[in-house]
Symmetry: C2
Subunit: 334 residues, 2 copies
DNA sequence: CTGAAAGCGCTTACAG
DNA sequence: CTGAAAGCGCTTACAG
């Protein structure tokens, strides 16, 4: 596979490399019509494709952004990612997605790798445990946007859900339906993940606002594999909750599995609301009431904010944290 | 953001660029211990990161492969993709995923774009309508592997499911459970997509093998948005099928939606088997019997076959079509 | 054991 | 209107 380069085209068209390059970059201003045609023909005949790697080296721009997600398993992540790609493609940027798998070490690896690959900017769902790296990017004036989570004291714009409102909507709906013993389960909070902490806070605030007693043992956090056990603990309480708010899609699924295995009827035996809309929510039996995130808008805004930074070479973050409103999708599980 | 290059490191460490490069590439053979330490220190102090773009240009390898999927919406695609990434990462290759969205034009765009970006090879779920491009890659001795589908007369290795067997397992199971009026719905076959055609063929063969009459109007194909209408047509037949084989996950979901909306009980009113295991199969009510593909193995083999081609610079395809066996996951929907 | 030089395939002032 | 030359940041024979 003998690659054909710009020199080959130049020779073939009997012009210089410079002229071919002008042609490729559509700088036709002063180019003779015949020259143009000859180059076009040569490119055609040789099947020439410009080498983007070489171009990137010279132009110091790869027209590519990186996105490092905390965990690709969440439905939220997949959808946001898709929105980011859409925006990028229509702006002629490419996207490289990496999955940090909730592991700060992997996140570090990917940040370094992507920067080494000279991507023009980064969208990160931060694990939170790489402050040094985040600060270095800031110092280097390297374009970054956080998504879904923020990191204490790191002045990088973050685009997130109004998580407190999400829990609020759910609690309010439970109460409207006559429930007062409302529990909540989230995935692990040992790493201080923003949405989880905020959703728990939002839950607590909403409970108070509704004039209900806040029962500390009604709120639990655990790794996905332990969710079912934790749920069981809740249900074994003297006064078990009659309704459960699932902190995200993974928690919801574990609750549904548990209910099925134990022959529990939803909502009769246990009412359920999940934060994050799941693919099967509408046709599950019962259809699941969820609090949906505007995933497309979040991704879109993230991508646009990053591209804006890249193009205008700006680092000063006027927006900082931007929050989107969640929406309650009322169905049959409560 | 003043980037620090290999020259800066060289100056700082008082050695030449060559020596720094040797160090970076771990060619320590004849390197003085003190030199090594000075370079190490300089790199540390300057926060130097090699520019992979420059390296790629010189080495003519980006250590990156591209994968162009036909349609990212299928569960199969997501899982295979993940397996490919796993293999690549552990071999120190990166992966760029592109979604052709079942559109040959987009596929063309991505093939050209990825080749221009100098990815070292391509895994393609071919739309089938870019024969010219496929042939050019072959002519250029450019490493490619097809996945999930094959293209008539293009001698490029393809890794696929034994699709006929998939339908066969399903039909056999229906029959065992006492069903004889068995229908099948697939997504559109106007583009002659391999798995769909083969699954229909497999269905027909199995029907014959079971000694059942083959009823032509029992097998339908349609775009996802029309699946529900097509299902309705089937059920409106004089002698409607009592069991339906869903050709893939998207078809299954439409069938489930229809059943729910029309208050049909599964399997009492309609028995269902889906080809492709869906995330919610095990905890849906009823749990859905599916024919699962070994997605991880398929992706793994695809990636390994491609990396092998890349590393050994071989084009001769001894394996050509390799097929994996599907597995019946017996649950409660039939 | 280390350095000078050429070159990967482009782009971009600049000269004419 | 077009071309010669320098340079992007590396790597790699080769010389010493």
């Amino acid at each position: 596979m003998k690659t054909v380069t710009i020199s080959d085209v130049a020779t073939h068209a009997k012009v210089s490399k410079s002229t071919v390059s002008q042609y490729l970059n559509k700088r036709y201003d002063y180019m003779g019509e015949k020259t143009k045609q000859r180059i076009e023909l040569a490119i055609e005949e040789l099947g020439y494709q410009p080498n983007i790697v070489a171009r990137s080296l010279k132009q110091k721009s790869t027209k590519t952004i990186g996105v490092i997600v905390a965990n690709i398993l969440h439905n939220f992540t997949t959808e946001v990612t898709r929105a980011i790609e859409d925006v990028c493609i229509s702006s002629d940027y490419h996207t490289i997605i990496c999955n940090a798998d909730d592991d700060p070490e992997k996140e570090k690896h990917y940040i370094e790798m992507l920067r080494a690959k000279q991507v023009d900017g980064l969208i990160i769902f931060p694990t939170g445990d790489n402050r040094g790296l985040y600060e270095k990017m800031l110092k280097d004036r390297y374009p970054v946007i956080f998504l879904d989570r923020k990191v204490e004291d790191i002045p990088i714009s973050s685009i997130l859900l109004d998580n407190e409102m999400a829990s609020g909507l759910a609690v309010e709906h439970f109460v409207q339906k006559g429930y007062s013993r409302i529990g909540m389960i989230t995935t692990s909070i040992i790493n201080h993940i923003t949405p989880r902490l905020e959703r728990i806070q939002g839950y607590e605030k909403a409970i108070h606002k509704e004039g209900l007693p806040f029962v500390e043992e009604y709120v639990k956090s655990a790794e996905p594999t332990n969710i079912q056990r934790v749920l069981e603990e809740l249900l074994d309480l003297e006064e078990p909750p009659e309704a459960i708010l699932a902190g995200n899609d993974l928690v919801l699924i574990e609750i549904l599995k548990y209910a099925k295995q134990n022959g529990m009827k939803i909502p009769e035996d246990l009412a359920v609301i999940g934060i994050d809309d799941v693919s099967f929510a509408s046709f599950y039996t019962p259809a699941i009431t969820t609090v949906a995130q505007p995933t497309f808008e979040i991704g879109k805004m993230g991508a646009e904010a990053l591209l804006d930074k890249i193009r205008n070479n700006k680092v000063e973050d006027e927006l900082l944290n931007y929050r989107f409103d969640p929406h309650l999708m009322v169905r049959d599980s409560v």
